[in-house]
């Protein structure tokens, strides 16, 4: 399997807690993935437009503020509109258990809560990435 998986690491919403997003971005790079990090406070529109422009295979959303049930559905709806159906979406951050099935129903592939290892996340991406040729 050739290693040209492109990942957009995005921080939607107002929270500035980027420790996790930055660790993830660096671990992905060290593992040979191509990473585009959006920086902080991206609107759903900005996230989806970056995903389109960068032609990514995966979007990793990091949300720690509790706004995930507003921001994630909006991003997924915009992705549907832009026909980004084959892009894998994973979410990390402070996501309470009851929200996980709701996010999955909307199209999020996996949710990684605090304590997840970067190794597990990378393995998940490699085995689930859909579009990559």
């Amino acid at each position: 399997m050739s290693e040209h998986i492109r990942v957009l690491v995005a921080k939607p919403g107002l929270d500035g807690h980027d420790r996790g997003a930055k660790i993830i971005a660096r671990a992905f790079r060290d593992a040979g993935l191509e990473v585009i990090y959006t920086g902080l406070r991206q609107t759903p529109e900005q996230v989806v437009s970056a995903a389109l422009q960068e032609d990514v295979d995966v979007i990793g959303l990091s949300v720690l503020s509790g706004a995930h049930m507003t921001l994630c559905p909006r991003i997924l709806a915009l992705m549907k509109k832009e026909k980004l159906d084959d892009v894998l979406v994973i979410v990390g951050g402070i996501i309470p258990d009851p929200d996980i099935p709701k996010l999955k129903e909307l199209g999020v592939s996996a949710v990684f809560q605090p304590g997840s290892s970067t190794e597990d996340i990378i393995a998940y991406i490699r085995s689930h990435v859909r579009s990559h040729a």
Binding site: G13, D15, G39, S65, I94, P96, G115
Partner: protein, 508 residues
């Protein structure tokens, strides 16, 4: 670290005497316990006001306000950027009307209040002062703290609005205004907490925080203030992480280094200018989402290090904070943890009980030396604002945070319940924030905007813009005028954004 430490060690001196390594007061907790101050805020001002009354009824001794992200970022609750965020990470405050509700029935002349606000600190402080006016409490009787530490926002917490230079000017304005009108108020809480939460080491937390302190003093002196007019009101805020003795050494070294900085670098004459007072919060980043009940034990041990380190006030985290904002039950257990340390363990009976320990004294002097080495590097760069613009502290913290994570993944570092001793536990109840809060706040804003004197609003906003553009005018009076006229926080920040611009960080 060595398996055993032996003497001799240098005499660390006495508590209450320079360089204050062992504590700033001669009797410490025998004279007075630390302030039990639980950081708290969620939902509407009404929700949080109820929580404050509850916490005070349970024996809490000071208030500490957590604002929601839109407030911290200078947006009203009905702004598009606020969607999904209202009332989530703290309490929604849009105008003086909300602040009046927040402190309803709480006598500001009798209780001290800490407010975690940085970029919009002038505005929230002005709101607090205005509530005091309405309660008939003179400003000279007010005690409390505004965090107001913008440097660590660029370095770590990232809730900045304006670029560094105008932001530093606003900080100096509060020093000057406080010294003249609100003499018992701590106009800044120079914070290592968030630096540590972003992944720094204990040494980086110490060094960057104290150097931020140096930078604020430099800016205030350049603005023409006398060091002893404002330095006694500088306060600090540290993290209590899990490595027990390392944390103890950090607090002791902090006092020693700050004493030297103030007396030698800045030639302060008032002894109070060289006494480092600090608040401590246990490490949020050390809480685990797995087996969350174990967090009670982590918090108790971390809190013990802060107490043995001589903290002036303390927040103990709730066991459920790795999952959500604390439920009432979890918040009560967190407060009880402090009360158990204070009243059952006996550690308050003697000052700095570990003083003179071979190990602790060695750790303290190592910590101090490491701190001076960082200071030399930061001095050589031209100070903290320049270092931030170069990305230096950000990069140091990022590297440390990555190394920590990799050590956990390699199991060089064991986190119980996360990478070892894993087991399933029944879930705990968590606090859910009602999504209807955004609509409630939006309705309040709509009513406010139609009922207030909008001519007066335009007038005070215009005056604020003029004062901001003048660069040498203290902004506090103009901000107070806006606040009293029920100009919203978002409107005030918009006016300042128009003059100062906004900060965009370059991704490092």
């Amino acid at each position: 670290m060595d398996p055993l430490y032996t003497g001799p060690v240098a005499d660390p001196g006495k508590p209450g005497e320079p360089p204050y390594t062992r504590g700033i007061y001669p009797t410490m907790y025998r004279g007075r316990l630390w302030t039990m101050r639980q950081f708290s805020g969620f939902g509407t001002p009404e929700d949080t006001n109820r929580r404050y009354h509850y916490l005070l009824d349970q024996g809490q001794t000071g208030l500490s306000v957590a604002f929601h992200l839109p407030t911290l970022m200078g947006y009203d609750s009905d702004h598009p950027m606020s969607e999904g965020e209202v009332g989530k990470c703290g309490v929604a405050i849009d105008s003086l009307a909300d602040m009046e509700t927040l402190f309803d029935g709480l006598p500001l002349g009798k209780i001290s209040t800490s407010m975690t606000t940085n970029a919009p600190a002038t505005i929230l402080w002005a709101m607090y002062l205005s509530v005091a006016d309405k309660q008939g409490v003179p400003w000279t009787a007010l005690r409390g703290t505004i965090q107001n530490d913008i440097l660590k926002e660029y370095i770590a917490e990232k809730t900045y609005i304006f670029p560094p230079r105008p932001s530093m000017k606003l900080v100096v304005d509060t020093f000057e205004f406080g010294a003249r009108h609100v003499p018992q108020w701590n106009t800044i809480s120079v914070s290592g907490y968030h630096i540590r939460e972003a992944g720094s080491t204990a040494l980086q937390e110490l060094a960057f925080t104290l150097y931020d302190g140096i930078e604020y003093v430099e800016w205030a002196l350049r603005a023409g203030l006398d060091v002893d007019d404002f330095a006694p009101r500088l306060s600090f805020f540290f993290n209590a992480h899990s490595d027990f003795f390392e944390e103890l050494a950090k607090y002791r070294a902090a006092r020693k280094v700050w004493h030297k900085v103030m007396t030698e670098r800045f030639r302060a004459r008032d002894p109070k200018s060289a006494m480092l007072r600090f608040h401590t919060q246990t490490a949020g980043c050390a809480l685990t989402a797995q087996q969350p009940r174990n967090n009670v034990v982590r918090v108790a041990l971390q809190a013990m290090s802060a107490v043995l380190g001589g903290t002036q006030s303390l927040h103990t985290n709730a066991l459920d904070e790795s999952l959500a904002l604390p439920s009432e039950n979890a918040a009560r257990i967190a407060l009880r943890t402090q009360q158990i340390i204070a009243h059952e363990t006996g550690v308050t009976r003697t000052v700095d009980p570990f003083g003179g320990s071979y190990f602790l004294e060695k750790l303290t002097s190592d910590m101090e030396r490491g701190c001076w080495e960082y200071f030399d590097r930061l001095d050589a760069m031209g100070g903290m604002v320049v270092a931030i613009e170069k990305g230096f502290p950000q990069r140091e913290i990022q590297d440390a945070s990555y190394e920590y994570q990799m050590a956990v993944e390699r199991k060089d570092k064991i986190i119980v319940g996360v990478n070892d001793f894993v087991s399933e536990e029944s879930p705990i109840e968590v606090l859910l924030i009602d999504e209807s809060i955004a609509a409630l706040q939006a309705a309040k804003l709509k009513a406010l905007r139609s009922s207030r004197d909008n001519g007066r609003v335009r007038q005070t906003l215009e005056a604020l813009g003029t004062a901001a553009a003048a660069t040498n005018v203290n902004l506090m009076p103009a901000v107070l005028d806006c606040v009293r006229s029920y100009v919203t926080l978002g409107e005030i920040c918009d006016a300042l954004r128009a003059v100062y611009g906004v900060y965009e960080e370059s991704v490092i």
